[in-house]
Amino acid sequence: MEKVYANAAEALNDVFDGATAMFGGFGLCGIPENCIAALVQKGTKNLTCIANNAGVDDFGIGLLLQRKLVRKMISSYVGENAEFERQLLSGELEVELIPQGTLATRCMAAGYGMPAIFTPAGVGTEVAIGKEVRTFNNKEYLLEYAFEADFAFIKAWKGDTEGNLIFKETARNFNPLMAMAGKITIAEVEELVPAGELDPNQVHTPGIYVHRIFKGINYEKRIEQRTVRKLS
């Protein structure tokens, strides 16, 4: 099956109102900028977004929040977004906060075909409310279910026409995990090459997890906290 699409609009053509969608990235690092722009363009409504963060007011998932396209956010940290906070406090937006490692591992579990995991994160806290607790080796663990999403939007550095992906530096973060958890996984890449050009030894995500791939354009790659040291 042909996996290569011309652009984001074509690759996201069948994303529907009310869909559950995962977005790779940590902060604004490694986010699927082209997919987000295409969702804004389409105006897809009532999205349930699973993403570590909610972007900033005018970038990343913040752009979806601005247009009120998000019904529910499932994240670990949502610090830097005033519009997010406004919608949350006014009750327009539903939010589920979960520990970062739990979020990552629930995605991984889906991609590994495991229905649930046990993690100690959140034991004894409000995160544990209503969850099954099991004791292994005298330590308590919470049962957390695998995540699945209708769509996973992934940003990689390089990809090939078979959907194999290579990520760059800390832009890897949640991307390979969410790639494994999407019923339909759509990857945007900075560089798209013919099959055979990526060294199979270096592939991070095998193409079996990737259903659609396209070459992204106009990457802004905004830096959230530009921090430098002075030449001394």
């Binding site: 993690t119 004894g124 973060n173 790659k221 430098v228």
Partner: protein, 217 residues
């Protein structure tokens, strides 16, 4: 009384050669500036990097290379990148030797609260719950009292918990304290700070069972 940099300087004395260390946001991040030259530690950033280097020089910033505080950073010789599941995997599996993080409250049984103020702050726990649930050695870096002058070392946390019975040691602007089954045990006092002042500003159970030396920075 110590300032934030001096707290970081005191914390750096907890580092040992060969340690893999996770430093939280705020005061803990400053610890990286005081790593003794005769030891080697590897800094873990939970967004997916082992071997975190200093901030880049101006013009060398790379948007694909950030730390857990979303700051631009660099790598060092021997660095490696990995995904978020592996990152928390190595934390959960106890491979990271030391975690230093900030807190809003710590109880005398080692409970910690640092992620939520109901009705006021709803930013989320990020990786803090995973870190405190799994790390074998957790040190809290914080001010001894809040801006209102109320003790942050309590009999029980009032704010929503991040983790239970996990903190091993606290370094504040006033003191170094261990967490023991009998409560906070005073180990060191900051230069110029009296034991009396520490007692007055510690709301939880406090044990003072020996001569308390002044901190060496």
């Amino acid at each position: 009384m110590l300032d934030k940099n001096q707290i970081a300087q005191r914390l750096a004395k907890e580092l040992k050669d060969g340690y893999y260390v996770n430093l939280g946001i705020g005061i803990p991040t400053l610890v990286a500036n005081y790593i003794p030259e005769n030891i080697k530690v590897v800094l873990q950033s939970e967004n997916g990097l082992l071997g975190m280097g200093p901030f880049p020089f101006e013009g060398q910033e790379d948007p694909d290379l950030i730390n857990a505080g979303k700051q631009t950073i660099t790598t060092v010789a021997g660095s490696s990148f990995f995904d978020s599941a592996m990152s928390f995997g190595m934390i959960r599996a106890g491979k990271v030797d030391l975690t230093i993080l900030g807190a809003m409250e710590v109880s005398d049984t080692g409970d910690i609260a640092n992620w939520k103020i109901p009705g006021k702050m709803v930013k989320g726990m990020g990786g803090a719950m995973d870190l405190v649930a799994s790390a074998k050695n957790i040190i809290v870096a914080m001010m001894h009292t809040n801006p209102k002058g109320e003790s942050k070392l309590l009999p029980h946390c009032v704010l929503p918990l991040t983790g239970i019975g996990c903190v091993k040691k606290i370094v504040t602007d006033l003191a170094v304290l261990d967490i023991t089954p009998a409560g906070f045990r005073l180990m060191e006092r900051a230069p110029g700070v009296s034991v009396k002042e520490i007692i007055a500003k510690t709301a939880g159970r406090l044990i003072v069972d020996h001569e308390i030396p002044e901190m060496q920075l």
